[in-house]
Symmetry: C2
Subunit: 238 residues, 2 copies
């Protein structure tokens, strides 16, 4: 497997055509991993803080956590549920993802504004795939923290044309023993691999081309990252 | 970044010299990612079920979960704490990792036995690194499930010579804004990348060589995977 960042991409602005920017770099069978920030910027998923009127809940949470109430209101607007509010807002987003601040972030954002997650990252991935030469798989990635482990790993929040999971349930190991609980999160591992191919968070390398995963690239766009959301009642860890 | 599995490694047995098996494949600056099962086998971390006498707690949990009480006893012996016991045993291991069955697993194990995690995976990684030509970084990997997301990703349970985390705290993004909460779990992402380079859980490819991560390879062995354990009181998610 090989992962390499595309160099020299320009800063992306609302309305920019990502497919046109990437067209010369893509081929069939590849996986194009793209940081969500770029997709969100192209889609105009940016809110100026000046235009946000915080409500009472946002004011209270902001006071508790020492945050800007307008930023907190933007987080609440993207959240189905606040999972924890002790030191950081851990939110369940409208997509079902559980992450800090519902993915609403100021880093690499225009001044005095916040960037949101794409409204429908699977749809964004499908649209980008359809427009790219060779119809490579597309993964939209974001950095998520994890329960029990320090540090963030990139995960797939939007997927088109890549198996979200490689399910070994019912298959057998080398000694013929049935594997019960093995389902490999292929798209999340691809997002993690791509993150390592970037020079850094300040490098302006939001798009990574991964090759060698052809066996997981599908002709159908497939169920997307929605298939990775573990239902609250199915969560073995909580 | 490039990740490729070593082909043609033989089945590993207790007492085998892993460094001798891998010596011809390693160079300075690489990251050698090795599935824990192979390390555990070489170190004899295997228990025959016939030799395990389950206690009352193991019997009760086994009845509740429909498992072999001897397997459950092996899990308890490796656990500091049972975190959940609803449908799967989620355990905090003696190393501080939170995972299903404390990493005690029957797949790819000899008949009627279970394989345990290495007793001290960081020490195992350091010893292997010291014995390998070029002193490449060594990561010992296992597949962990995640709260809130379906599927397993490989993570680093033992590390020598690779930064566990690349901490951007205090550094700035492209627009000069300070990054507050960005610490990238480099070793976990390397384990995930390596997992994608294997042909499958039945392929007998437990060792993957990752190149292109030289900037994260350190001369010192470093703090190891112990540095990735989030203390119970520091957990923002729970």
């Amino acid at each position: 497997m090989n992962a390499r960042a595309i160099e020299g991409l320009p800063e992306v602005h609302p309305g920019d055509d990502l497919a046109a920017l990437l067209a010369e770099h893509t081929e069939a069978g590849q996986v194009v991993v793209i940081a969500h920030k770029v997709v969100s910027k192209a889609e105009g998923r940016i809110r100026a803080l000046a235009g946000i009127e915080p409500g009472a809940e946002a004011e209270a949470l902001a006071a508790k956590l020492g945050k800007d109430p307008r930023h907190v209101q933007a987080v609440l607007d993207e959240s189905l549920e606040i999972v924890r509010d002790e030191r950081v807002l851990i939110c369940r987003t409208r997509h079902g993802f559980v992450c800090a601040n519902a993915g609403v972030d100021q880093s690499n954002a225009p001044a005095d504004s916040v960037i949101l997650l794409p409204a429908d990252p699977d749809a964004s991935a499908r649209a980008l795939r359809a427009a790219l030469p060779g119809r490579p798989a597309v993964v939209i990635a974001d950095s998520f923290g994890r329960a029990w482990r320090l540090g963030q790993c990139d995960v797939a929040i939007g997927i088109a044309g890549l198996a979200p999971v490689d399910d070994w349930h019912g298959r057998v190991d080398r000694s013929g023993r049935r594997l019960h609980a093995t389902a490999i999160a292929i798209a999340d591992e691809a997002a993690a691999a791509a993150d390592l191919a970037r020079a850094g968070k300040d490098a302006g390398e939001p798009v990574v081309i991964v090759s060698g995963l052809e066996r997981f690239v599908t002709d159908e766009d497939g169920p997307g990252a929605a298939a990775l959301v573990r239902g609250r009642d199915d969560d073995l860890f909580l």
